[in-house]
Symmetry: C3
Subunit: 446 residues, 3 copies
């Protein structure tokens, strides 16, 4: 009897103890106040630095009379992104899916209620992280269209991208991140884009190339026969600072996309750095020995970024050595792509946004299937490659259609381009302008 | 008897277990090595970035011959802040209160002993966080007085602000943060200033406006009839980088002011971003359509910062929608305030410090009562508004009195202003100067 | 009997409970996903910012025609560091020791296997942290040799430093960090260099001074009689931004070197800030009142950095007051060292790398023994001082020998210096160059 009681005691105590432990541990570790939350929040901070990085990169690569206006655009698209994504974009992207096409969810519009997600982190932290991603996609466009696009039409374009283009394609690829039951048709097919080579970078670059064609090249970029003329950039050194700030931001861009602080984070960051370094190296030496050496800084800076863009989709499924190889290839792709855009297609991409984010994004998305460890792919390698290709195509076709419509409407109504005088003398004419700007009176369109 | 023993066993075991749990959990979570500590430390890092942000903002907005000197001042006030706040400022602000007027505490002077606080984080981490706050208040002054104030008198002013002005007013509003029993008379009355719209920003701006009046306008800012003359700023684009760095820093400035890593942090950061974005937008469009369009970059940059300053006091008590509204209003306040200071009061505020930190700080402090959720206010709404107003008034009156005395003494002894020649040619004349500086021999006062 | 059983129960339960607790706590705290890992990873992010800091500092201090090339070098040495340190450098530095001379470890080469370390943090996080340290050592050289060294020879030098010089000396001083049983002969003798005053800064400065002598001074730095001629720096203000970015990075450089998130971190960061502030102050006032006042910005900026370098070795063993004193002394050492290098030794160190990293590193390493708390030293104070001196000597002798050989080979084969025309007109001549560069055709050596 005594033994029985004692045994009972033991068996009663054990769960009691463990409940007590559980409860206390719950407070310590299982609430939202955990390392995952802190890591994703800090990653959002790092991705926010990319805004400063893009601004600095682009400012250095435009002509000096356009420094101020490209900077203003970087700030404008940031605020357009914050407001537009908060009001409706986030809901369109991650809300309860309406036939797999778009999220419709009054909880998420206007930040009504961030508490119904099923993530291990608070909904509002997920929102902040996605917000800075949206901001990255938007700001890519500013560089591609810099030096001739007006501030207000640019702002309108950013706002439409933030609330229509980016969230809708994003819904197709990532729409099941917040509510796991959502139909995200590309993801459901097996499309893999870990941190957004396609969702962020290719979308941004596609809006950019459409805008670039619609607004036309800067005056003096090509002569009447289509030959490339020299352009004086304002400060290469400043652009290199931009590359470094962007690079740091990528630690969070890729590392935070796990949405948790897991062992994967560390190898992802390692891969990110190796790809960036490999790409910078190959772009530098390829340009130095085989291309126009006077463009070596554009090439090495853009090359590094192309490596970082390319690894973005696949940083969680490739080995470090393959990350380095992806980087080495990406650097060459950048350099060839740069010449292709400028010298073959005769497009005026002042900061090289298309080779970096477009070609880099596509190459990275395909690299998932090409270089990914087979056991980490969702499909057999060749099927995966096919689906990756389909995802890219869907992205490009959708983005081209919507952005052509968008820019056509802006062009037909407000106008897209500044006057030739503003373009040549600086977009913000007036009495308080920096020396490089003419001191004239009125501005009709900034 | 056996049962009795068994029961005893259970009741003895339970606390024993729980003590064991407690002890082990203590090591894990209750010691200072916890997420709260890490978050506050990282927030201090982010606030430190605001030093770089202010430097960059101000450098871009001054004339190019003053770039180097305004940069030097930003560095000087940082080191003045670190040394002065370490030696005595921190003790004055948070030490055991001497009749509610000032902290007197040998523990805190010279960093003697940071271990007696009752916070959940180590005293030294609290010190580091407060240190970078003090640095922020100090550096606001550098912009307001830039372009004509000597380096050494500026340094003296910074040191006095770091050890007298900032800590004493801070003691009244926040003096009970470190020792909860301290009498902090404004806080005890119910004055609410979460992250320092008044304590940091209004104090900084008030020292700035007094200094600005005492040192007088830059040569060439107004003509003899008091008309505003054009001033060429050195690089708008650089200032926009400053806005971005400051914005990032604000994630820590407001988010870290919880002094813990709690769920509040995330909505605070959301509110901060919405207010900044709203303010940038309203300032941009208000200037673009209703004010002198040539100032649109000053306005949008300063507008964004005004929104960030305004949300600082109230980010923990308002809803996201109200944060956006506070921002939208703050942008307009900035633009009108900017014109008021320059065109009505004829004060020369080269970087717009007064509209941003002064008007923004006051508006934000009042917004606690106007927009705060009633249940989160310490007093009924109208009483709260009254107390907020009293707090602001006390701040302005106290800061004006002390800084008038301070600047009068500096002016009468060392002198406050550089020679006209130094002002026009750059403050640091000598053989090694950048091109924009004349190569002359002697400097009497830098 | 019953009592006996009950007692048994108690004694059986206690360990059971505690095992249960242990197990659950293990999941919470003992895995790699802990606060130590997060802190070291974030410290690596902060140290990465130092790349941006060095770039910015150096760009501001060189002539404007060399802005772009010094920026390119900062990027090149970063990627050389990443690739070289990943492939073999890390293995040489931390791998299983081959007779105490060098690490030989196929696990660590090419990042084969980061899982056999015995640290409390994942091996890959340790790698990332060490990687950014290596990057710091490398980039010091870029400033010292700036303005006349070709890009490709500079890259080769960086690569050799990353895979030979830095790892081998590092192995002697820190080689037991990853595998505790490794023989690290300087560490075994009691040499203390907490975060690398010698391992990182003196190594970098020594490679720099050798390179500086081998490549010779810039044209126009000295006249034919050896008199110092004036040099126009490109933008002091930009350099001050660099100082601020570096300063922030130092929070991670020193704070992360604990390799854990312990109470030591906080006092280390406090000491770091006090030393930087003290040094900036003493350098500013010493120059202002006793030296050529036109160099006050170089002196205060370099002074601050010298304080930060000096505290690096000893930040974990000195009191805050001593940290301030170390800083005050370091500022004076910097100013005297600056004049010594330029005016006595007639060496052309465009950014003051030798006084900052060389003299600062040596002073800091000695300060361990001079200012360290006796109970925290490994040896009695005088013995410690002797060993510190030996460590510095070994470092300088070894680094001089290897880097003389390295630069001699580079000079004899590829060549080290650009043509006089490139030096005077900018290193990257070509049609796309910034205005300050001449628009000419061919470049023989960038």
């Amino acid at each position: 009897m005594t033994k029985f009681f004692t045994l009972i005691t033991i068996f009663l105590m054990a769960p009691l103890c463990s409940i007590a432990i559980e409860e206390q541990l719950t407070e310590v570790s299982s609430s939202y106040i955990n390392m995952d939350t802190l890591w994703v929040l800090l990653s959002a901070v790092l991705v926010f630095f990319m805004q400063a990085g893009f601004k600095t990169l682009e400012t250095g690569l435009v002509k000096k009379e356009h420094r101020a206006s490209v900077g203003s655009k970087n700030l404008l698209d940031l605020v357009a992104g914050i407001v537009g994504f908060f009001l409706v974009g986030f809901g369109f992207m991650f809300g309860t899916s309406y036939y797999g096409v778009i999220g419709i969810d009054t909880d998420l519009f206007l930040g009504n209620n961030f508490e119904h997600g099923t993530l291990g982190i608070p909904g509002v932290v997920f929102f902040l992280f996605q917000l800075v991603f949206a901001g990255t996609a938007l700001t890519i466009v500013s560089g591609a269209m810099s030096g001739r696009t007006g501030l207000v039409p640019y702002f309108i374009g950013s706002m439409v991208t933030a609330i229509i283009i980016y969230p809708i394609f994003g819904h197709w690829a990532w729409g099941n991140l917040y509510y796991p039951n959502n139909g995200a048709w590309l993801a459901d097919m097996g499309f893999m884009d870990f941190a957004g080579s396609t969702v962020v970078h290719t979308v941004g670059a596609t809006v950019g190339i459409v805008g670039m064609i619609m607004v036309g090249p800067r005056l003096g970029r090509f002569d009447s026969k289509g030959n490339v003329l020299p352009v004086k950039v304002s400060d290469y050194s400043y652009s290199i600072l931009g590359v470094m700030l962007l690079w740091i931001g990528w630690w969070g861009f890729n590392g935070g996309s796990t949405l948790s602080f897991s062992m994967d984070v560390f190898s992802i960051i390692l891969n990110t750095n190796l790809a960036g370094a490999g790409a910078c190296l190959s772009a530098f030496f390829f340009c130095y020995f085989f291309q126009d050496r006077s463009e070596v800084i554009e090439k090495m800076a853009g090359g590094a970024l192309t490596g970082l863009v390319a690894i973005t989709a696949c940083c969680n499924v490739v080995s470090p050595i393959n990350a380095l190889i992806i980087g080495l290839i990406a650097g060459i792709i950048h350099n060839l792509g740069y010449d292709l855009i400028l010298r073959v297609f005769k497009l005026d991409d002042p900061v090289g946004a298309i080779p970096v984010h477009g070609f880099g994004g596509i190459f990275g998305t395909l690299s998932v299937a090409i270089f990914g460890k087979e056991e980490l792919l969702l499909l057999p390698r060749w099927e995966q490659l096919l689906i990756q290709g389909i995802g890219i195509e869907v992205c490009v076709v959708f983005t081209v259609i919507v952005s052509v419509i968008m820019f056509k409407i802006i062009k037909a109504t407000y106008g897209l381009r500044v006057s030739p005088e503003q373009e040549l003398k600086g977009m913000l004419l007036g009495r308080n302008m920096p020396e490089q700007f003419y001191n004239e009176e009125t501005i009709h369109k900034v």
